[in-house]
């Protein structure tokens, strides 16, 4: 799968302040990756879910008219270029409609799970399996990564800045592989890169390293098994999870070893976490696009920022912190500021879509072979509204585009996810508080 490209410029170069830097030695580690999907009998339908925090100004999100050929709302305007591959879904609600307690925690934890998570600030968190993980169970095992979970916020600098009564764990991720297993999100682009493409080296070195890691895994699996026998039930369950993970990693390494594709694309090794939010988000989108393209994964989630984010957007003229200003108090000035942030986030998402559209994949583009949701778990942030939620679906997977699917008020978001899971042949019968499917595809 990996070949070395010798043709990269030897000179180091720099793209803007804090941007990615490619250095001479890194040539050796620039991987050559390929899309395998064109060899597949039918085009693969990648799944993605992109999360935006702190709700949205819904009057400027939801198009004014339902049905086909709607006029784009201000916040979604940056996505108009993809209208033929885009569907707006309105009137969804998170679990426990009308209940706003736990608000921000539920906005994140309930976004893809459709549940109202257990109220706890302790370690006994419990939500539900998120739709990305249900999809990953169907299509994830054929790729090195069943799913990728990406974010931008390092949550270690937010002590005490979570929702009262609810664990911080609920807002550090949107992906749950089981009701009690939040999937950690990775925010360092360099780490994402190294996970995806491995470390530098010749093909022989890479192969030797893989073999070594496999024998380390074998041995630690054996040790963990031994340890398990000496433990009580609770600890044993913990180590059991550990062991399953070891097997999952083994599978991934073997998968990478078996992969010997030849088509070429390259990304630069990122130096770390860019200081600018825009560059950080863009870089994560870039990595995500490459991961899809190279068929490293077919399922991904991305939190563009965390709930309760205190980020300011001076470049937009928004000097108040995002969360603070999102409690706009119906002040038109504040509403305008929040809408600016919402629109900016859609603009960045639009650039990602453009990249997918520009990337050939089989008989079409990556965008043609994707189903990507963009939205959040909170409506009007002023009162932490449980509905209507901001939600857009993009990609060839939406079927007929330029539609505004206006559901019955307070349709559980679980209904949407159930519909999606079933599209991927998931046997699941219920997601969160779902009470049926929706007429979507």
């Amino acid at each position: 799968m990996f070949i070395t490209r010798k043709s990269l410029p030897r000179r180091t170069f720099l793209r803007g302040v804090g941007a990615t830097v490619a250095l001479p030695l890194l040539d050796a580690m620039v991987p050559a990756v390929t899309a395998q999907s064109k060899t597949a009998a039918r085009p693969l339908l990648r799944f993605g879910a992109v999360f935006v925090p702190n709700g949205a100004i819904m009057e400027q999100w939801i198009p004014s008219t339902p049905g086909i050929g709607f006029e784009f709302s201000p916040i979604l305007k940056p996505l108009e270029a993809f209208k033929d591959r885009l569907v707006v879904v309105s009137n969804l609600t998170r679990a426990n409609p009308g209940v706003v307690e736990g608000d921000h925690a539920i906005s994140a934890a309930g976004f893809l799970t459709g549940v109202y998570p257990k109220r706890t600030e302790a370690e006994d968190v419990s939500a539900g399996v998120s739709v990305d993980q249900l999809v990953a169970r169907q299509i994830g095992q054929e790729t090195p990564f069943p799913s990728l979970e990406l974010a931008t916020a390092d949550f270690t600098g937010y002590i005490g800045a979570c929702t009262s009564g609810f664990s911080c764990g609920y807002i550090n991720t949107i992906s749950w592989s089981s009701p009690t297993t939040p999937q950690p999100m990775e925010f360092n682009p360099r780490t994402v890169f190294e996970r995806m493409f491995g470390r530098p080296g010749t093909p022989e070195q890479r192969s030797a390293r893989r073999q070594r890691n496999l024998s380390v895994l074998d041995e630690i699996a054996r040790q963990a098994g031994d340890m398990q026998r000496q433990l009580g039930a609770r600890d044993r369950a913990r180590l059991d999870e550990y062991l399953q993970n070891v097997r999952e990693i083994e599978r991934r390494i073997q998968r990478a070893a078996a992969d010997n594709s030849t088509n070429v694309t390259s990304v630069e090794l990122p130096v770390g976490i860019p200081e600018s939010f825009e560059e950080h988000v863009t870089l994560m989108y870039d990595l995500l696009a490459v991961a899809y393209q190279a068929d490293l994964t077919r399922v991904a989630t991305f939190m563009t920022d965390r709930e309760l984010s205190a980020r300011t957007y001076p470049q937009l003229g928004v000097n108040e912190q995002h969360h603070t200003v999102s409690h706009h108090g119906n002040d038109p000035k504040n509403i305008a500021q929040v809408a600016k942030i919402n629109t900016y986030h859609s603009t960045l998402f639009g650039k990602f879509l453009a990249k997918l559209q520009a990337t050939p994949d089989g008989d079409g583009s990556l965008l043609d072979h994707s189903l990507i949701f963009y939205g959040g778990g909170m409506g009007n942030p002023n009162q932490h509204a449980s509905d209507p939620l901001p939600m857009v679906a993009v990609g060839g997977g939406v079927g007929k585009g330029h539609r505004h699917v206006q559901l019955a008020p307070r349709t559980p978001v679980g209904n949407l996810w159930l519909t999606v899971a079933q599209k991927y042949d998931s046997p699941i019968a219920r997601i969160g508080e779902s009470n049926g499917t929706i007429d979507f595809f």
């Binding site: 250095l23 302790a122 270690t156 600098g157 009262s164 390293r209 380390v216 040790q223 963990a224 433990l231």
Partner: protein, 803 residues
């Protein structure tokens, strides 16, 4: 009437809030110091009947509590409820303001006797809490590697951050495992092994060190060598002997203007204090060129700063900075404390180092002789025949330290098998490296496993083994593995001896590694880690830069550290008459005659600045970007100083409106009056807000002020017991009147941190016991630590069910 009940219920909803007590007792208020036999239960029945059950009865069940349904004769039978009752009553929270209240004597007698009962019942059946399987978190992993291999690794780059619970990131059950996480641990083991051995297979590496954009570099920086201005200093680990490229890049605006190039500057790169590169930049030629071709000129200037030099393997101190002793640039366009604004056209000021990239090795000549290799190779095989014997010794030593207990043949076999494979591949060193990689990846290293003795029944409470105790102690005090001395005491079976344990604890507290209590405990307890994300708005606070941010953090860390190192009363954290400042911070506080970037201990000249409540760190991290927040400050104090967090706010809370142009600006206090309009808000805000208002003389970056929006600051307020306070000094005195509350809060936080779990009612007798002992020692730092180390949950464990 209905309304009043509603307010009372709203107060109760929050489970725990805090009210300043009417009688300002002293440490003598600590319960049960000499537990007397409980006084006649009938007296307590009367107290409950008179003051409690009019709301908390079977019919009303206010806050879900019916005290007429549980027997006061059997306190232990409803320990969970009574623990809540005593916490509220002792704190003066119940009965609520406005209701009939017992006098202080009646209250104290009531509370003391119930606590005594609770403590007695607990002592009869000590409960150490749930047994836990703890994974090393990121900080612990990094420290363990440091202590095992004499090598500092950038653990933040190797491992993901850990989830936290109860305010700390070392909580056992919050430390999940996932494939992504385990993959990172596996990769970390491999990378650390290669670095430690200087493995040639690493090839070239490139590390880039960024300097935050908001660091002012117009003057000497704290921690930099004398005679330098700005720049950056790093401790870089060079994996092998060889040549390395050092490329420094300067800050430039997005129009490619470099700061300071109108004047000449001398750049210097030093390694371990010796100059290895020198370059002149700036002056008329560069300035003229920059006018013509800004990008090419800036690139050329950066190029002058690059150099390729031979460096020996191991850690080296690398400094990239400008030489000089005083600011030379015209500072008219910049504020006195010189913010590095991202102005796109401005080139005044001094050049700022933006990043330093170290790439190499080129032409590597060997693994060199690094501290890591010296630590690992406790023997060197004299000939090939001795190799396996020596390997066994090395691997045994490493494994014992890493696994924190003696290793047996079963542990050694796989390690030696890895050694053998590696040796066949690449010789003796490679063999040891493979064994090390396995050690670091092993669940025995990554998990803190405590094995239950086979001969006990499930549910039995027992003292953990000496080795487990050694680990509990070292991870508590050092966030790391035990050292040789501690392991030796454990091997000798002496660690459970109280005198030995105390001696070891004191020794470890005096060790530099106890710095972990500052960087991991204090920084999370006091939320100092949040400072990183604090960004006061530049229009309102143009002088705020990273230098000030770092100084804030440093001051609080140094105060905590001095209390720890000098074993002072922890109450000094609130009242110390000294603090630690450098010039930047001293100016901010208005402390005269402090020059230079290094921190030093100075007397606090103003009463208002004394202790944590006067620290810029706390005051800034509890403010918004554009203004102070009395609510956040009040909440922070309730949670972290007084241990009584307020309940969550109701939904639909609008933000305070910004002042409109042309309107007479409203003061913070006027804006906050809105809280009083709504009774639901008022029930909690009347507790929080007066505390926050008392700090209003400190602005959103902790600078002293006497007016806000043109109106004089009004820092007066009324605490819930009716006490009038005005300003930070009165607030501090009110808190200091009950040192047991502060010491109790800190003890609870320390206990959570030490045990890696949240506390429940079973732990309250433990907290009280620690406080009783500590009160007699004026709450010295060591008295809290020793109390925890001595406690049942720290030393004991419940055997788990087999199934």
């Amino acid at each position: 009437m209905k309304n009043r009940l509603f307010i009372i219920a709203a107060l109760w909803l929050g489970a725990v809030t805090w009210v300043f007590p009417q009688s300002a007792g002293s440490g003598a208020a600590i319960p049960g110091a000499t537990p007397a036999r409980a006084s006649a239960p009938s007296a307590h029945r009367d107290v409950v009947a008179t003051y409690c059950t009019s709301c908390h009865n079977e019919r009303l069940k206010t806050a879900g509590l019916a005290l007429d349904r549980i027997s006061i004769d059997d306190v232990a039978g409803s320990a969970e409820i009574w623990e809540k009752v005593v916490r509220k009553v002792r704190g003066g929270l119940m009965p609520p303001a406005g209701a009939r209240r017992p006098d202080a004597r009646t209250r104290d007698a009531f509370v003391t006797s119930i606590e005594t009962e609770l403590d007695r019942a607990w002592a009869a059946r000590p409960n150490p809490g749930r047994p836990l399987l703890r994974r090393l978190n990121r900080a612990e992993y990094g420290n363990a590697v440091r202590d095992l291999l004499a090598m500092d690794v950038d653990v933040a780059a190797l491992l993901p951050p850990d989830d936290s619970a109860y305010g700390f990131d070392n909580i056992a059950d919050a430390l999940n495992v996932s494939p992504a996480l385990q993959e990172r641990y596996l990769a970390a083991a491999e990378k650390i092994g290669e670095l430690a051995f200087g493995d040639a297979e690493m090839g070239m590496l490139s590390e880039t060190y960024h300097v935050r954009g908001d660091v002012s570099q117009n003057q000497h920086l704290d921690g930099m060598p004398l005679g330098t201005i700005g720049g950056t200093r790093i401790n870089h680990f060079f994996p092998r002997d060889g040549e390395y490229v050092f490329q420094t890049r300067l800050f430039r605006t997005n129009f490619d203007n470099m700061r300071g190039i109108e004047y000449p500057h001398e750049f210097e790169l030093t390694i371990d204090g010796a100059r290895v590169h020198h370059a002149a930049i700036g002056g008329p030629a560069d300035l003229a060129a920059a006018f013509e071709r800004p990008k090419e000129t800036a690139d050329a200037i950066d190029e002058r700063l690059g150099v390729r030099i031979r460096v020996s393997a191991g850690p080296h101190d690398v400094v990239a900075a400008f030489i000089g002793s005083a600011p030379t640039a015209d500072a008219t366009k910049l504020r006195p404390f010189l913010k590095s604004a991202f102005d796109t056209l401005d080139w005044t000021g001094r050049p700022h180092v933006r990043m330093l990239t170290i790439t190499g090795p080129f032409n590597a000549t060997g693994s060199g002789d690094t501290p890591a290799r010296q630590r690992i190779f406790t023997c060197r095989p004299a000939s090939q025949r001795n190799e396996d014997e020596c390997a066994r010794q090395i691997v045994t030593t490493l494994a014992r330290r890493a696994f924190r207990e003696p290793v047996n043949e079963t542990d050694l076999q796989p390690l030696l098998a890895f050694y053998k494979t590696g040796k066949q591949e690449g010789g003796f060193d490679v063999g040891i490296e493979r064994a090390l990689q396995l050690i670091l990846a092993s669940p025995k290293f990554v998990f803190r496993l405590e094995r239950d003795p086979a001969n006990l029944k499930p549910g039995a409470v027992y003292k953990v083994s000496d080795f487990d105790l050694a680990s509990r102690l070292s991870f508590f005090l050092w966030s790391s593995i035990p050292d040789e001395e501690l392991l030796a005491e454990a091997s000798a079976g002496r660690l459970k001896n109280p005198a030995v344990l105390e001696r070891q604890t004191r020794r470890m507290l005096a060790d530099p590694k106890a710095q972990a209590l500052v960087s991991n405990f204090a920084s999370q307890w006091l939320h100092l880690r949040n400072l990183r994300n604090v960004q006061p708005h530049a229009d309102d606070f143009p002088d705020f830069d990273d230098n000030l941010r770092q100084a804030f953090r440093r001051e609080t860390e140094l105060l905590f550290e001095s209390v720890m190192r000098d074993d002072r009363s922890v109450v000094d954290l609130l009242r110390a008459d000294y603090t630690f400042v450098n010039e930047r911070l001293a100016r901010h506080y208005g402390i005269p005659n402090v020059y230079g970037s290094q921190f030093r201990r100075v007397p606090v000249p103003d009463e208002e600045r004394k202790g944590l409540l006067g620290h810029g760190s706390i005051l800034t991290l509890t403010s918004h970007a554009t203004r102070t927040s009395p609510v956040v400050r009040g909440k922070w104090i309730l949670e972290n100083i007084l241990g009584t967090p307020p309940p969550s706010p109701p939904p639909d809370v609008p933000t305070l409106k910004e002042n409109e142009k042309g309107q007479k600006p409203k003061t913070m206090r006027e804006q906050m009056a809105e809280h009083r309009a709504n009774p639901t808000c008022a029930s909690c805000h009347k507790i929080m807000d007066p505390i926050g208002f008392a700090l209003e003389n400190f602005d959103a970056v902790g600078a002293w002020r006497t007016e806000d929006a043109g109106t004089p600051i009004d820092a007066s307020g009324e605490l819930t017991d009716g006490t009038h306070i005005n300003g930070v000094v009165a607030l501090r005195n009110a808190i200091l009147a009950r040192p047991d509350l502060f010491a109790g809060t800190m003890t609870e936080k320390l206990l959570v941190y030490a045990l890696g779990r949240g506390l429940d009612h079973h732990d309250m007798p433990v907290v009280r016991a620690i406080l009783r002992e500590a009160a007699a020692k004026d709450y010295r730092f060591s008295s809290l630590i020793l109390g925890i180390v001595d406690s049942v949950p720290f030393q004991m464990r419940v055997k788990m069910e087999a199934q």
